[in-house]
């Protein structure tokens, strides 16, 4: 770049017909160039520090709740009643007590559950796409994966609510089960299981895209070497391709996790309306219990925004989401940065 501007400078000074005007015109031009560069740089810096703006504005409003509850905010339960209390509290006696443990656990359960479905299935699909897919099936398959990624989350929520939830309610939930759980939560199909299914379909495409990229990036020569050693295709995939693509696949899973944690709308539709804390001791019924996640709480409880205590509590939820998404992004760039470095050292 540097030589080019020197070159332009040389061109401009090489034709000094009327020396003075040229220099001043040249100065003006130079000034304009600099001004544009600084303007663009300003925009860039603004894009980059937007994340800090977001942090500042979100965390600032969450501070009162964190101050009032400390670490208890994520260790205590009782969200629904506390929220009701704060909402109804008279303005001169605000209630700042909140415990978001059910939301945190709801987020963890649904996310982990979605990953349990999406990672094996998505990895299988990626391997299929890269290694086994007959040519005629490749275009339809990539198109459908891209389509799945493009469908808006509210549509997933809608389909989940109309299809998945009733199916769970009719086939998996028995009256007996519902009776046993009646004091804990109503089992109506909106559940961890429904959330897992819907979320896994939503995060599947991004994971498939990233892990198939990682698999495609494995040098062909590794595969040929393994074949020439008499290793079968499946063992080559297992022993050579997957280990080599490992970091890219992990980065993909991390990004998919980030998306699962932050999904608000679809989960607010299928996860159930109560901040219930499911218990492993209920056995498999665990999966049929309703939950609420941090993100869907912000949607479902948004009418509480006009009360400052409730508002602050929702901002506290957003803070947890924000910090975990930042952590995941940083982890993903770190891992895939290692991938990039690794690839560079290979070639």
């Amino acid at each position: 770049m540097k030589e080019h501007s020197d070159l332009t400078a040389a061109l401009a000074t090489a034709t000094p017909t009327t020396a003075n005007t040229v220099t001043s015109a040249w100065r003006l031009k130079q000034f304009k160039e600099k001004a544009i560069e600084y303007l663009l740089a300003t925009f860039t810096v603004m894009s980059a520090i937007l994340i800090f703006f977001i942090m500042y504005f979100v965390i600032r409003r969450a501070v009162p709740v964190f101050q009032a509850n400390g670490i208890g905010f994520i260790l205590r339960g009782g969200w629904d009643t506390q929220f009701m209390t704060s909402w109804q509290a008279p303005a001169d006696q605000p209630s700042w007590i909140f415990g978001a443990l059910p939301l945190v656990m709801g987020t963890i359960y649904t996310t982990v559950g979605a990953l349990l479905i999406a990672v094996p299935l998505g990895l299988g699909c990626a391997i299929f796409l890269v290694e086994l897919c007959p040519p005629w099936l490749r275009v339809p398959l990539t198109t459908t994966v891209r389509l799945l990624a493009a469908i808006p989350s509210v549509i997933y929520g809608l389909v989940g609510l109309i299809v998945v939830v009733p199916v769970i309610a009719h086939t998996l939930i028995t009256n007996q089960m519902a009776m046993n759980m009646i004091n804990i939560a109503a089992l109506d199909g909106t559940s961890i299981l429904a959330s897992m299914i819907v979320l896994s379909i939503m995060i599947g495409p991004i994971f498939i895209a990233l892990s198939s990229d990682a698999l495609r990036a494995v040098p062909r020569s590794y595969k040929e070497a393994a074949f020439a050693l008499g290793i079968s295709q499946w063992r080559t995939i297992l022993k050579v391709m997957l280990p080599v693509a490992r970091k890219g696949i992990i980065a993909g899973a991390i990004l998919a996790t980030g998306r699962a944690i932050g999904e608000a709308i679809a989960l607010s539709m299928v996860s159930g309306g109560v901040a219930n804390l499911p218990d492993f001791q209920h056995g498999l019924v665990f999966f049929l219990e309703p939950v609420r996640t941090l993100a869907s709480a912000i949607v479902n409880n948004s009418e509480g925004m006009i009360v400052s205590t409730c508002e602050s509590a929702l901002f506290a939820c957003a803070t947890l989401l924000l910090l975990s998404s930042v952590a995941l992004s940083v982890m993903a760039t770190w891992v895939s940065g290692m991938v990039r470095k690794g690839v560079r050292s290979h070639v």
């Binding site: 980059a48 937007l50 299988g124 809608l158 389909v159 498939i208 980030g258 912000i298 992004s329």
Partner: protein, 307 residues
């Protein structure tokens, strides 16, 4: 013994086919459930407040809301994203500072939209931001309501920013260096080269980025729900389409296809799933058309799409 990997192969085939079936299933289901809701009347009447599905009107305002919001959002995002992309592709070198900037933008791409939504609310309920939305008196703590088309559009712009930046930057980078060299050889300045040679050459890629941004804005619900509100019709002075009321419309609440779907689904208050599917189908067709345009453009430029 190694012939016995058929189980693994069967599993791989299954996962590929299951993925396809899920996608086809969802699209077919949407078409079957939504198609009979769609009619000219459905597309061209306003939603009416009624619990009776037969009387609850159509989706005209949500449709217009989606178009309005995507337009506004992308208009806000494009200059900003374009400037950033140009700087990153053409001016920024490779150093610690630039890496930090890139990381900042990458991190932004991972922030959930619900967090953007609540951030938008936090910013636009500030009294200084009252001009973007309408003031509601008597609400505890807040001078401004913080919900309007303007608020939602600006928040959307922030949300799509990292994705648009990325695709424009890639478009600019994929312009052959020979174009640039030819321009410099003619004595053109750097900015002239960028604006007259590089940007036109990267046009298809830039359009791709814009369309991807539009798709994201049109498909988002979280920001709509918090920053635009849950009312079905335009909230400003009526009739909202009169030019003298435009400013008022932009400063008031409204709806889009996504919020209409949410509102009409069993999860919302309207509870007319047939209409929700109709609107959902319209939305998905809109987004599929955008994607078709992208892959059509992608045939001419080797732009890699964002994930």
């Amino acid at each position: 013994m190694f012939k016995r990997h058929w189980l693994a192969y069967a599993a791989l085939w299954c996962s590929g086919l299951i993925t396809m079936l899920i996608c086809l299933g969802i699209v077919l289901f949407l078409v079957v459930k939504g198609a009979h809701a769609i009619s000219w009347q459905f597309l061209f009447t306003d939603p009416l407040p009624s619990m009776n599905e037969a009387l609850s009107g159509g989706i005209l305002t949500p449709l217009i809301g989606t178009v309005l919001l995507t337009t506004l959002g992308i208009v806000c995002a494009l200059p900003w994203a374009g400037a950033t992309a140009i700087y990153l592709a053409e001016y920024a070198g490779e150093n610690q500072f630039v890496n930090a900037l890139r990381t900042g933008i990458d991190v932004l791409a991972g922030v959930p939209t619900i967090v953007f939504a609540i951030f938008g609310l936090a910013v636009f309920t500030l009294p200084q931001m009252a001009m973007f939305s309408t003031i509601v008196e008597g609400v505890d703590n807040a001078q401004a309501f913080g919900r309007s088309f303007l608020v939602a559009a600006i928040t959307m712009a922030a949300m799509v920013l990292p994705f648009v930046i990325k695709s424009i930057e890639e478009a600019i980078r994929s312009v052959p260096p020979s174009y640039k060299e030819a321009s410099y050889a003619l004595g053109a300045s750097k900015w002239n080269t960028i604006s007259c040679v590089i940007l036109p050459a990267a046009r298809a890629g830039i359009i791709t980025g814009v369309i991807l941004g539009i798709g994201r804005i049109a498909g988002d619900t979280a920001i709509i729900w918090l920053c635009l509100g849950g009312s079905m019709n335009m909230g400003g002075q009526q009739p909202w389409w009169m030019p003298q009321h435009w400013v008022s419309t932009l400063r008031h609440t409204g709806s889009t296809l996504t919020s209409y779907v949410y509102f009409s689904s069993p999860a919302g208050e309207g509870n007319s799933p047939g209409k929700a599917f109709g609107a959902g189908l319209v939305l998905v067709v809109f987004i599929l058309l955008l994607n078709a345009v992208v892959s059509y453009l992608g045939r001419f430029t080797a732009i890699k799409e964002d994930q």
